[in-house]
Amino acid sequence: MNIISWIMEGYNIYILPSYILTLLCIGFLFIRSIYQSKKAKNLLEKLLNSNN
């Protein structure tokens, strides 16, 4: 894969940000979901312990 293929006729300044932004958004959704899930699980565990 040479450098020419990354220049994409000069359209790389539009193409690459599109892909990077899309992947960042998907990554953000994934990390946010996992973080919230872990947070909720920890809270449930604490509450269950204090209930016992």
Binding site: M1, S5, M8, E9, Y11, N12, Y14, I15, P17, S18, Y19, L21, T22, C25, I26, F28, L29, F30, S33, I34, Q36, S37, A40, K41, L43, L44, L47, L48, S50, N51
Partner: protein, 243 residues
Amino acid sequence: MFDWLANPNRFKKITNKLEPLLMVISLLFIISGLYFSLFDSPKDYQQGDAVRIMYVHVPSAWLASFLYLSLAVSCIFYLVWKHPLADLISSSIAPIGALFSILTLITGSLWGKPMWGTWWVWDARLTSMLILFFFYLGFILLHNAFERKIDGSKSASVLAIIGLINLPIIKFSVDWWHTLHQPSSILKFDGPSIDNQMLIPLSFMIIGFGLFSLYLIIINVKTKLIEKKCEALILKLNLKEIL
């Protein structure tokens, strides 16, 4: 079917098995879709390499619309049949759909600048997609605006159902009005007018994004189920302290 799935325990049992499978399959589709769309698909004879933006723009647009349809259907289930999971499903879909609709607008702008010479035009397709994003935002804000959660859920559900009118406008705007946005080239009565070399990577991305969204929705619904359990436990603990 929905009745059967509406049982939270049964939902958890099924999705526990489905979750890792969805994650792996969606990532495989996305990674291979990325490879095909960036390196293996041909240039367009008019747009050149800029056509590659389509492989992230179109899946985002389709998902933004499809997720809104799913959100509105679960709102109907919530309002009419009072299914316990329906509200959790719609509130889990909303942030994902909102992000895909804003992605559609941004990637569309990034394609519009080199092709149309402008980042934005008040074209029917672009404007209706912006309205879809506002409906998502409205749903999220309304859902969290009330002190009593049930009030928020009901009013947000009504808004979501009203917003359904926007979906056919998005789809047919390019046929009903003379727009700068090109007409549909995949979902057509006489079959897709796009070459298979482009259709295959596009399908890979659509399937990958779709499955990944489903995976995220499942995680979010399960998180909300745990949060409900936590709220019930906090109430129980508070009652114990009072008594």
